[in-house]
C-alpha cells in the first residue's frame, strides 16, 4: 500500500478502534486539558490586559503623546512649537508633605492646568467641575485628596491643610484620575491641585525632584508616530522622555510581560508533567492493543499503517482535550475582568484572542505528539509472532530511525516554540535546558533505582524483596512515578524557595539593612539645619547624605544607546533619568572591579565611576566615554572605574558617581537616609517637616509594605498556576499506579493464596512507595534549590539563602501526600477476594 492508501486505511481502522472505548485515557485527557487551559488562560489574560492597555492608551497616558522633563520646565520655544501640533496640557508631579495639625503625611502631588484631563474623566465626590474644585477661595487653594489621607489624618471634605507654604482646603474626595497609571512607583496617596497652587507652595526649588509632563492632544488626522518623530527631530537635545498612547505605560507593559513569562513557564511545566501522563496513558492503552496490532500485522498491515492508526487515535483523544482547554483559556478574560479591572485601573479587552489560543493549541498538540511518539513507535514494532506465544526474547524495543527523527523533531518543535513564543528568549531557553536536564536526570535515576532494586531482590527479608521486586520487574511504574513526583516537587520546591527568599528579603533583610527614612529634596542651604534636627533626635543615627540631580545617558563612546546591543538586565539604566551624584571619597563599601578612584583633591576634566554590571554588559571600562544629558545639556565624561553595586540592600547607590568639580555648580538637592527606632519615626518626621516643610520624608517601611502587597498578588498568581502543575503531577502519579493495578491485584491474590496477610502486603506497598517518595523528594529538593538559586542570583540579582524550613516542609508534606496517594491507589488491590479472581483469570 502506498502512503495515501495507508492513511485512508488507518483512518478507517481508527474509526473502528474508537468503538472500543478508552480505558485509562481520563488521565491523558485531563493532563492535556489542564496544561492547555493554563497556557491558554495566561496568554489570553495577558493579551486582554495589554490590549485593554493599548485601547485605553490615550486616557491612561493623559494625551496622545507625553513629554516628561525632570527638574525643569519646557522652554518657551518648545511650548510654542508644541502648541502648533495640537493642544498642550501641563502637569507637574512631585512628592510632598501634606500637613494637618502637627501631622505630616507624604503624598504624591499632581498639579494640573485648566486643560487637564485631555482624555477621560476625573472621578471625585462631590462631582465638582475640576476648575471649581481646585480654585483659590478665601486664601486657600482647592485640593482633591485620596480617601487614605482623610482616614489617616482624620480629615473631612472642607477641612484645611498645608503643603509647603500654601494653605489648602479639601474640596473633594478623589476616587480616581484617568492617568493614575502613568505615574511611577508611588510612596504616598495622591492629591490633585492646580499648577498655581504648586507655585504658591514654594516647593518649586531648583533641583527638586519634580516631573513636568507636557501632554499633547493632536489635531484631528495627525499621526502619533510622525509627530513623535518630528518632536525628536526638532528638539534632539531636549532631554525629555517621550511616551505615546500606542504604548501608554511601557513600565506596566514590561511588568505584565514579565509576569506573563513566569506564569507561562510554570504553565509549561504543568504541560510537561501532563505530557508524562500522556505517555503513560498511551503506553498503557497500547499495551492492551498488542494482540490487535499483532493480528493486524499477521493479516498484512505494515508498521507504518499500525503507527498511523494509533497516531490518529491518540490525536482523536487529544483534540477534544485541547479544545476544552482552549475554551477555558478563551473564557479567562471574561471571568477575570471583574476581578482585575478594579485592581489594575483599566479594563481588559474581552477577546477571544487568536494568537495565545493558537499557541496553546500548538503546545498541546505538540506535547501529545512528543510524549505519545515513543509508545506509538514501540507498538508499531510489536511482532505478530507474539500471537503464538510469549516470546523468549522481549523483542527489539528500540524505536526505529524514522521514529527517533520524528521524536527529535517534536521535541525541538516544543522547545523552539517555548523559546520563540516567550518574551525573554534567554530565560525561556534556560527553562527549557533546566527542564530537559531534570527530565533526563529523573529518567536516569529511575533506571538506577530499578537496577539497584534488581540487585536487592535477593534480600532475605520477604517484605523488602516484594517491595523491591515491584520497583524493578518489567512494566513497573517506577519511572513514571519518579518522573511525575520528581518533576512536580522540583517545580514546587523552586517556587517555594524563591518566594521564601523574596519574603525574607522584603520582610527581614531589607528592614534590617534599609534605613528608616529617605529624605528627598533637601536644599543645599538646608543641609546644616537638617543635620541639627537629626542630631537632636534620640536614637537617630547613621545619617548619610549625598547631593543628587537627575541626568540621562545619551551616548556611550559617542554612539547613542539604540546602536548598542544592551543586555536585558541593564536596559533600565538607559530608559530614563537616573540619579547622579558626585564624591571625593569612594562610597562606603564600594568594590572597584576596574580602574582607580580619583584623588580626594582631584581637579581635572570630569570623570565618572560606573556600575560594573553596565560596564561588563556593554564591554566598556576605564578610558571609554559617556555622554550625559543634565538639565537639557550634553556633557561628555570619561569612565575612571567600574564599581560593583548591591542594589538589593536598598541603601543609597548610584549608577553614575562623578568626580568633584563638575556637578557642584548645577542646581541640586540632597538625598539623606537616617535610621531611627520605630517609635521615634513619627517624631523625626514631624520635626523635619516643621522646620523644612519642602523636604519629603519617605518611610521605607511603608514602601516595603507596598512591595509586599504587590509580591503577594504575583505570588498568588504563580501559586495558582503551580497548583495546576501539581494537580497534573498528582494525576500522572495516580494514573501510573492505577495502570499497573491489574497485575498488582493478581500478585496480591496469589500472595494471599500463599499465606501473605494484608498487613504484610500493605507494608511492602509502603516500602515501595516510600522509597520512591524519598528519592524523588530528595533529588527534587536539590534540583529545586538549584533552580531557585539561579532565579534569585541571575534573574532577581539578589542573595540566595537555602531556607531549609520551607523546603523541608514542602518536600515532607508533598512526599507524604504522594506516599499516601500511591498506597491508597494500590490498596484496592488488597480488597479483591482470591477465589473470585482466580476463577475468572
Amino acid at each position: 500500500m502506498n502512503a495515501l492508501s495507508d492513511l485512508t486505511m488507518a483512518l478507517r481502522l481508527a474509526r473502528r478502534e474508537l468503538r472500543g472505548g478508552f480505558r485509562g485515557f481520563r488521565v491523558f485527557a485531563l493532563c492535556l486539558f489542564l496544561g492547555v487551559a493554563a497556557i491558554a488562560a495566561i496568554g489570553s489574560l495577558s493579551q486582554a490586559l495589554l490590549t485593554g492597555l493599548a485601547e485605553d492608551g490615550r486616557t491612561l497616558l493623559g494625551g496622545d503623546i507625553d513629554l516628561r522633563l525632570t527638574h525643569r520646565e519646557a522652554t518657551a520655544e518648545q511650548m510654542a512649537w508644541l502648541a502648533e501640533q495640537g493642544v498642550v496640557s501641563h502637569v507637574a508631579e512631585m512628592r510632598a508633605m501634606l500637613q494637618a495639625g502637627d501631622e505630616p503625611l507624604l503624598v504624591e502631588m499632581k498639579a494640573v492646568d485648566d486643560l487637564y484631563p485631555l482624555y477621560g474623566e476625573i472621578d471625585m465626590e462631590p462631582p465638582l467641575p475640576l476648575e471649581d474644585a481646585l480654585a483659590r477661595r478665601e486664601g486657600a487653594w482647592g485640593l482633591a485628596v485620596d480617601q487614605v489621607i482623610l482616614d489617616r489624618l482624620d480629615l473631612r471634605v472642607g477641612d484645611e491643610t498645608r503643603i509647603g507654604e500654601a494653605r489648602f482646603r479639601i474640596t473633594a474626595h478623589l476616587s480616581r484620575e484617568p492617568d493614575r497609571l502613568a505615574r511611577g512607583l508611588s510612596f504616598g496617596p495622591p492629591v490633585l491641585a492646580s499648577l498655581a497652587a504648586l507655585e504658591a507652595s514654594g516647593l518649586l526649588q531648583p533641583g527638586s525632584l519634580i516631573r513636568h509632563h507636557y501632554r499633547l492632544r493632536l489635531s484631528d488626522g495627525a499621526d502619533i508616530g510622525r509627530t513623535r518623530a518630528a518632536i525628536v527631530e526638532r528638539f534632539p537635545d531636549a532631554g525629555w522622555r517621550i511616551t505615546d498612547a500606542r504604548r501608554a505605560s511601557p513600565r506596566v507593559y514590561r511588568f505584565l510581560s514579565r509576569v506573563e513569562l513566569y506564569l507561562t513557564l510554570v504553565g509549561l511545566s504543568s504541560l510537561l508533567l501532563g505530557g508524562l501522563g500522556v505517555a503513560n496513558a498511551t503506553r498503557a492503552y497500547l499495551a492492551t492493543k498488542t494482540e490487535t496490532v499483532a493480528t493486524l500485522k499477521c493479516l498484512g498491515a505494515s508498521r507504518r499503517l499500525v503507527f498511523l492508526l494509533y497516531l490518529f487515535l491518540v490525536m482523536a483523544l487529544a483534540l477534544p482535550a485541547v479544545l476544552m482547554g482552549l475554551a477555558v483559556g478563551a473564557a479567562a478574560p471574561f471571568i477575570a475582568d471583574g476581578l482585575l479591572g478594579e485592581v489594575l485601573g483599566w479594563r481588559g479587552a474581552p477577546g477571544p484572542f487568536t494568537t495565545p489560543l493558537a499557541l496553546a493549541a500548538v503546545f498541546g498538540i505538540l506535547t501529545a505528539l512528543t510524549f505519545a511518539l515513543m509508545p506509538l513507535a514501540r507498538a508499531a514494532k510489536v511482532s505478530p509472532s507474539g500471537l503464538f506465544r510469549a516470546q523468549i526474547a522481549p523483542g527489539d524495543q528500540r524505536p526505529g530511525r524514522v521514529a527517533l527523527a520524528a521524536l527529535s523533531l517534536a521535541i525541538a518543535g516544543l522547545a523552539g516554540l517555548a523559546i520563540i513564543s516567550a518574551n525573554d528568549w534567554v530565560i525561556a531557553a534556560a527553562f527549557v535546558a533546566c527542564a530537559g536536564f531534570a527530565f533526563a536526570l529523573f529518567h536516569l535515576l529511575a533506571r538506577s533505582i530499578a537496577a539497584l532494586a534488581a540487585r536487592g531482590a535477593r534480600l532475605r527479608q520477604p517484605l523488602w524483596r516484594l517491595a523491591l521486586a515491584n520497583l524493578h520487574r518489567p512494566g513497573a511504574a517506577t519511572g513514571a512515578m519518579l518522573l511525575s513526583l520528581g518533576l512536580g516537587l522540583t517545580l514546587l520546591s523552586a517556587i517555594v524557595l524563591v518566594e521564601a527568599n523574596l519574603d525574607r528579603q522584603v520582610g527581614q533583610v531589607l528592614p534590617a539593612q534599609a534605613p528608616s527614612f529617605y529624605f528627598l529634596d533637601i536644599q543645599p542651604d538646608q543641609v546644616a539645619a537638617f543635620e541639627r534636627i537629626v542630631e537632636d533626635r534620640p536614637g537617630a543615627e547613621k545619617l548619610r547624605k549625598v547631593p543628587i540631580l537627575r541626568g540621562r545617558i545619551t551616548a556611550v563612546d559617542s554612539r547613542p544607546p539604540e546602536d548598542w546591543e544592551i543586555p536585558n538586565n541593564i536596559r533600565w539604566v538607559f530608559r530614563g533619568d537616573r540619579g547622579l551624584t558626585w564624591r571625593r571619597e569612594p562610597l562606603e563599601g564600594a568594590v572597584l572591579t576596574a580602574g582607580e578612584w580619583w584623588p580626594a583633591d582631584y581637579d581635572g576634566p570630569p570623570l565618572v565611576s560606573l556600575d560594573a554590571a553596565v560596564g561588563e554588559g556593554l564591554g566598556i571600562g576605564p578610558g571609554d566615554s559617556l555622554t550625559i544629558n543634565v538639565l537639557g545639556r550634553d556633557f561628555v565624561v570619561r569612565i575612571a572605574n567600574l564599581r560593583r553595586i548591591d542594589w538589593s540592600a536598598l541603601t543609597m547607590n548610584f549608577v553614575l558617581v562623578f568626580s568633584p568639580g563638575f556637578l557642584e555648580s548645577a542646581p541640586q538637592t540632597y538625598l539623606a537616609t537616617v535610621e531611627v527606632p520605630k517609635d521615634e519615626e513619627g517624631a523625626l518626621e514631624r520635626a523635619v517637616f516643621k522646620a523644612l516643610p519642602n523636604v519629603a520624608a519617605v518611610r521605607v517601611r511603608d514602601a516595603l509594605a507596598q512591595v509586599t502587597l504587590l509580591m503577594g498578588r504575583i505570588g498568588l498568581a504563580v501559586k495558582s498556576i503551580a497548583a495546576v502543575a501539581l494537580l497534573a503531577g498528582i494525576l500522572v502519579l495516580i494514573g501510573a499506579v492505577a495502570a499497573d493495578q491489574d497485575r498488582r491485584t493478581y500478585d496480591a491474590v496469589v500472595l494471599k493464596v500463599l499465606g501473605a496477610t494484608r498487613r504484610r502486603l500493605l507494608l511492602s506497598y509502603f516500602l515501595e512507595h516510600g522509597l520512591i517518595a524519598l528519592v524523588g523528594a530528595a533529588i527534587a529538593g536539590i534540583l529545586g534549590a538549584g533552580a531557585a538559586y539561579l532565579v534569585m542570583t541571575q534573574v532577581m540579582r539578589s542573595e540566595f539563602v537555602l531556607l531549609a524550613g520551607p523546603l523541608l516542609t514542602t518536600l515532607g508534606v508533598s512526599g507524604a501526600l504522594a506516599l499516601v496517594l500511591g498506597v491508597a491507589t494500590t490498596f484496592r488491590a488488597l480488597g479483591r477476594r482470591p477465589a473470585a479472581l482466580l476463577r475468572n483469570h
Binding site: 486505511m9 493486524l296 499477521c298 498484512g300 500471537l387 503464538f388 523468549i392 526474547a393
Partner: protein, 243 residues
C-alpha cells in the same frame, strides 16, 4: 533430510533451517537443520511434544520469525530477502493463519474482521466477498456481531472465513480446536478441510490430536527442534483410510 515429493512445484521449501533466539539466560536453539518440502495442495500435520519447535516452524514459514540460518522459500518467494513490510505484504497475499485463540479484533464486527485482509490488499468489493465467506462458514446471520457477542465456535469459524477470504496459497493452523469443545471442534475441522479441499490450499496444521493429524496426507514429527519423522506418505494415507 529432504522429503521426496511426487508433486512438481513445492509450495514450501526449507533448506537447513535453523532458528536461535536470545533469552535472558543466553541463546536458545529452537530449530536445528530442518529441510523440508511441502507440495502445492498438500495437507501436512505438525506434531510433537510441547517445546519441540512446532509453532516456531510455522512462524518461520509465515514470515513471522526470521530464520537464523538456512533458506526459507514459500510460493516461490525467498523470505530471507524480504524486510518487515515485505513480509507483511507476503502474508497478506499468500498466507492465511488460524490461531488457537482466534485473535479476532474485538472492536470490529465479524464482517469487518473478515474484510480487513482484503482491505489491506486494496480489493474493492472487500465487504461483499467477506459476506460470502462468512456465509460459507454458516455465519451469514452474524455479520454485524462483535467477537464478544459470538460463541467460541463462531469466533473460530469467523477466523476461518478470514483466513480463506484472500484465497491464500498456504494455510497455517495452530491448534485450531484447542480452545473448543469436542463437538464444536469437530465441526470447525470439517469446515477447515472442506474449505481447503475446495480451494486447493496447501495446509500445515499443528495439533496434539492424533486423529486430527491422521486426517492430513502427511505427518511431520518434531522433537527437540529437529525433524524426527517426515512421515511416510503411503503409511499416512493408509492410516487415514483405515482411521
Amino acid at each position: 533430510m529432504t522429503q521426496p515429493l511426487d508433486r512438481t512445484s513445492p509450495q514450501v521449501r526449507l533448506e537447513n533451517l535453523a532458528l536461535t533466539l536470545t533469552a535472558a539466560s543466553g541463546p536458545v536453539e529452537i530449530l536445528k537443520d530442518i529441510s523440508l518440502e511441502v507440495a502445492a495442495g498438500e495437507t501436512v500435520s505438525v506434531v510433537g511434544p510441547s517445546g519441540s519447535g512446532k509453532t516456531s516452524l510455522i512462524m518461520v514459514v509465515a514470515g513471522l520469525e526470521r530464520a537464523s540460518a538456512g533458506r526459507v522459500e514459500v510460493a516461490g518467494r525467498n523470505l530471507t530477502e524480504l524486510d518487515e513490510d515485505g513480509l507483511a505484504r507476503f502474508r497478506r497475499d499468500t498466507v492465511g493463519i488460524v490461531f488457537q485463540d482466534f485473535h479476532l479484533v474485538p472492536t470490529m464486527t465479524a464482517l469487518e474482521n473478515v474484510a480487513v485482509p482484503l482491505e489491506f490488499a486494496g480489493i474493492g468489493e472487500a465487504f461483499a466477498r467477506a459476506e460470502t465467506a462468512l456465509g460459507a462458514v454458516g455465519l451469514g446471520h452474524r455479520l454485524q456481531h462483535y467477537p464478544g457477542q459470538l460463541s467460541g465456535g463462531e469466533q473460530q469459524r469467523t477466523a476461518l472465513a478470514r483466513a480463506f477470504v484472500t484465497e491464500p496459497k498456504l494455510l497455517l493452523a495452530d491448534e485450531p480446536t484447542g480452545n473448543l469443545d469436542g463437538e464444536t471442534g469437530g465441526h470447525v475441522i470439517d469446515l477447515l478441510f472442506d474449505l481447503q479441499e475446495r480451494a486447493g490450499t496447501t495446509l500445515m496444521l499443528i495439533t496434539h490430536d492424533p486423529a486430527l493429524a491422521l486426517r492430513c496426507e502427511r505427518r511431520l514429527e518434531l522433537a527437540d527442534g529437529r525433524l524426527r519423522n517426515g512421515g511416510d506418505l503411503a503409511v499416512t494415507r493408509d492410516a487415514r483410510g483405515t482411521g
